[in-house]
């Protein structure tokens, strides 16, 4: 687990996380890194018999879907989980059946990757969940100055 956390922290190095946290700004950051649009859409009832979040990558854009039937913080976390898959470059195809059920008009040939947030039973899911938690649940890092490092060790400032 320590290895998982270190791995996730390493992956997040260089990723600009807005403080205070702003999901729109963070999505822009991810889209800029990918060099392609990132579309975020709420899908009510997504989690009924399906993942509560879903990333569908086509050859032109990334689509992130989430169930809005939960608290704002949780919905944000679901989106972050999918963004973590994107940042990690996870490649395993997920349950494309879920995408087909939810979006019957979607051309399966256009789908490059599908990953959904269901449980943390695979390494990729644990990674995405840990990264999402580190992005949103960890206080902002102190600036890399002498004062920032001293503040970090002595525990003052945020």
């Amino acid at each position: 687990m320590k290895g998982l956390r270190r791995r996730c922290e390493r992956r997040l190095r260089g990723v600009r996380i807005p403080r205070p946290f702003d999901l729109d700004a963070f999505c822009d950051e991810v889209a800029a890194r990918r060099g392609r649009p990132l579309v975020r859409r709420p899908v009510p009832g997504l989690s009924d018999g399906a993942p509560c979040g879903l990333w569908i990558a086509t050859d032109r854009a990334d689509y992130v879907f989430y169930d809005p039937g939960t608290s704002p913080l949780h919905a944000e976390h679901i989106v972050l989980h999918e963004l973590a898959h994107i940042l990690s470059g996870h490649t395993l195809a997920g349950d494309s059946g879920a995408a087909a059920r939810l979006f019957p008009d979607l051309d399966p040939a256009a789908v490059v990757r599908v990953l959904g947030r269901v449980a943390y039973t695979t390494e990729q899911e644990r990674e995405a969940e840990m990264m999402a938690s580190l992005i949103r649940g960890r206080p902002a890092a102190h600036p890399r100055t002498t004062l920032g490092r001293l503040a970090d060790v002595l525990g003052f400032g945020e």
Partner: protein, 405 residues
């Protein structure tokens, strides 16, 4: 003696309090090493301990040099300058020089009366090397704390850093004065060591006190926030253990990892965040079992930090019958939410079909603080209701699990 005792208690308290930070990074480990070495130095030099253990007079000095090494290491890691190799080399050289000089002198006088006698060159050299090394480390520390204090936020952080600077400068002053007096005495100047020593000891003790207190002052605000996080973890536990038992697949941390995550300051906040998310994961999974035919209750008001982005109101349920052993929900939205969770859990456990049109959970504000405040209230209400439902006769209730999570 009182001052020395107070300093010892403070030093060992800080060493114990900072123990979990050992797992964080090298800076934390270097600071902890310095505190522990200083605490050991003061402990073995503390008269009751020294008498009981028969401490060699030079042992506190050698431990002091080790404390100086960790202090230099800490400064180097904080400022991003200096290499470990030369620090280690310098420290080993000082330790070897001290051992050699002590052997050549045939013992080092440490008491005021001993210093007042004739001092051979090896003894003088011993004191000069020791105090120069410690003094140099403390002057560097003083410069660091003083200059960063000027840039630190006004208030407790700046005050704390300047107190540390004052403390280290006092001890550095003590070291410099002692070295000068020993050299002066060896050169034939009359120095009244028995008269000076008690004052010098008090100055040294005050310096350590200022240093330790200064290190503690800036962290008080953060300590309050960490204490609040621990309290919230406890408040959320009843609801979280229920979700964990019902949906173990949503738990991320292993029990062992969860204990480690309780140790560091930032890690406690991360642990709290995970607890909130895992509760919400469970509630989302429970939502299909929440009937939409429930009675709507007022959402938590602005005082609860709940800016409501959701179109739906809080869900309450009709009060359970007498067989449920629960009280009337009244108008408390947290109790209504807890009641709804209990009902959804019961329906799921009975393998009832999911509701055709599921209900929704009470809306809550977008921030972590909103979630923690609201879920804590729900968790407290849930615990009370569960106790009433499971155990209407007041018999002891089994703990949900022995897991450390």
């Amino acid at each position: 003696m009182i001052l020395s005792g107070t300093v010892l208690v403070l030093l060992w308290g800080v060493a114990a309090g900072r123990l979990p930070t050992l797992w964080r990074d090298r800076r934390q480990r270097a600071l902890w090493g310095s505190v522990v070495a200083l605490a050991l130095t003061r402990t073995v030099a503390f008269p009751p301990v020294a008498d009981r253990l028969g401490t060699p007079p030079t042992l506190p000095h050698l431990l002091g040099v080790v404390a100086g090494y960790f202090l230099l290491r800490f400064i180097s890691l904080v400022t991003g300058t200096g290499g470990r190799r030369w620090q280690l080399g310098l420290t080993v050289a000082v330790l070897l020089a001290l051992a050699g000089l002590a052997a050549r002198a045939g013992g080092i006088p440490t008491s005021a009366d001993g210093l007042a006698g004739r001092l051979p060159p090896a003894t003088v050299g011993y004191w000069v090397v020791l105090e120069a090394y410690l003094g140099a480390a403390l002057v560097i520390a003083t410069a660091l704390f003083w200059t960063t204090g000027r840039d630190a936020p006004a208030g407790l952080p700046r005050l704390g850093l300047w107190a540390m600077a004052a403390g280290t400068s006092l001890i550095a002053g003590y070291a410099a004065v002692k070295a000068v007096l020993v050299v002066a005495h060896a050169l034939g100047v009359a120095v009244d060591f028995p008269a000076i020593e008690p004052v010098a000891r008090s100055v040294q003790g005050c310096g350590v006190l200022l240093m330790v207190a200064g290190a503690l002052v800036p962290a008080t605000r953060r300590a309050r926030s960490v204490a609040a996080a621990y309290r919230s973890l406890l408040l959320l536990r009843p609801l979280w253990t229920t979700m964990r038992d019902a949906f173990p697949e949503v738990i991320l941390f292993s029990p062992r990892r969860a204990i480690i995550e309780l140790a560091g300051v930032d890690d406690v906040r991360l642990r709290l965040y995970r607890r909130v998310i895992e509760i919400r994961d469970g509630m989302l999974a429970l939502r299909p079992y929440l009937p939409a035919s429930a009675v709507l209750l007022p959402a938590p008001g602005p005082s609860d930090g709940a800016e409501n982005p959701s179109p739906s109101g809080a869900v309450s349920l009709p009060a359970p019958g007498p067989s449920d052993g629960a009280e009337n929900p009244g108008s408390d939205p947290a109790e209504a939410e807890a009641r709804a969770i209990l009902l959804a859990l019961r329906r799921r456990a009975a393998a009832e079909p999911p509701a055709a049109t599921p209900g929704s959970w009470a809306p809550v504000g977008p921030e972590m603080a909103d979630e923690v405040a609201w879920l804590s209230r729900v968790s407290v209400a849930y615990r009370r209701l569960r106790a009433a439902v499971v155990n209407p006769d007041g018999a002891p209730i089994p703990r949900p699990s022995g897991s450390a999570r």
